[in-house]
Symmetry: C2
Subunit: 245 residues, 2 copies
DNA sequence: GACGGCGTCAATGTATACACGAAGCTGCCG
DNA sequence: CGGCAGCTTCGTGTATACATTGACGCCGTC
């Protein structure tokens, strides 16, 4: 695989998993040493991450963007517009067999959620497959690209409510409703069920995130160890806020 | 200004203006010579254009993506989801003064459209300002980024119906309706008026584009002059279709 | 003591040299 | 005469050296 691709995947995964916390400073030389490639592929990776809105160029160095409470609301507003539309289109254009399979797997969600961490992973795999199936059924390249962009940011938020079993059980039920609407070919119901689901999800996310998640963990964590890159890191993201790319 | 930025702006403008037609092959060395910079900034520009979905990496060299009839429909599906939502949010959050000013200017649209090319430019400036005002009023960074992405592709399509005065006059009226709804704070009406506007716009666009606009003009036009880069250029875009980025 | 200007330095921006891979062409063999 | 194999060549991928910019801190002056 190309080095630039690997660098991008590595950094993106680390940001999404929270290994690189918001406020972390990513410098080209530093990262090129850490990842074992030259600056060129690192530059490419950082530019792509900027386009994704996961990092932001900030004067000197690029910093991992924070997700403020306000950002969560904004993201959900966009998600609702996109996913409701996608669900509606999927209901009109779906191949029933695809969603029938997902429906079967979704029925096992409650027992999966009782199984602990392993079950949790399998549950999220089902949800991801559902997202992919909707995106594929909607059969719209532009919409698909926009959806992947919001899913990127949603993944970061998901970590917050990951261990709220009560909510996850309810979410599984909402997903089932969406799948049933799509299987029934009812575009309006699929749209509205998605709207409901996202509303509940947002409510839960906001309840989970207390004051302001943006909270950078005091010191900026320069990824590599002994580098004294200690600067205050403003909570509000500078410049134009997150770019969905 | 940074060379990479200039290269990106130049290439993007040329693609949007149709100077670089769909199917044109953009090679790094070739472009670096033409633009008078080295390969590095050209690479950066091309990567950004790929992220924008304006070009696609295609085996040897990157080619300017074509817009198929199907792409137009897809784009309008996404536009409707995004812009209807944005108009609704703008109606809730707008500062009345901003839109009152645009409303005044929009009232002059019919006379502007009678003035020929110069008036046309001024008319499109008003429409662009309206888009910007809606985006600003919606006050949602994620939605804004998604909107800018679709506007990029819409600009390419707009060229097609640029000289249909009948349609432009009607569009001006539809825009006025949207502005009035926003001024009235009526989110639902603003949404639906946007839906209507885009529906009419799509209908017109599809009527204007006859068989398949993707039609690459026979030979791929290698931007620089005497280079015999003659390969057939497939009409359908390869790989994953346009990325909205 | 505070403000402004200048110098230093580090990190990014740019250029170029080198490496690798793929596609096309040519020549040989079946 | 056609197909395949090897070579050649062009183009992108990567690394590194050099240029430039902008930020930080120090010093001088008001």
């Amino acid at each position: 695989m190309r080095a630039g691709e690997r660098a991008y995947d590595t950094l993106r995964t680390e940001i999404l998993d929270g290994v690189l916390e918001p406020g972390s400073v990513l410098q080209e030389v530093e990262q090129s040493v850490r990842l074992g490639v030259s600056r060129t592929p690192v530059r490419e990776a950082l530019r792509r991450l900027i386009a994704d809105g996961l990092v932001a160029a900030s004067g000197r160095g690029t910093v991992v963007t924070a997700i403020s409470r306000n950002d969560i609301v904004s993201l959900y507003e966009l998600r609702e517009a996109l996913e409701a539309r996608a669900a509606g289109l999927a209901a009109q254009r779906r191949d029933a067999a695809d969603f029938a399979g997902i429906r079967e797997r979704l029925l096992e969600a409650p027992s999966l959620l009782a199984e602990g961490e392993a079950g949790l992973v399998r549950y999220f795999a089902i949800v991801d497959d559902l997202d992919d199936a909707i995106e594929a059924a909607a059969d719209n390249a532009f919409l698909g690209a926009a959806l992947r962009s919001v899913q990127l940011h949603s993944a970061r938020i998901r970590r917050l409510s990951r261990h709220n079993h009560e909510r996850l059980r309810a979410a599984a039920g909402e997903h089932l409703l969406i799948v049933d609407a799509i299987l029934a070919g009812d575009a309006e119901l699929a749209s509205h069920a998605t709207h409901v689901h996202l509303h509940m999800s947002l409510t839960n996310a906001l309840a989970t995130v207390p004051a302001d998640e943006a909270a950078p963990t005091a010191d900026p964590v320069p990824t590599a160890d002994p580098v004294p890159t200690a600067d205050p890191v403003p909570t509000a993201d500078p410049a134009g806020g997150p770019r969905v790319a």
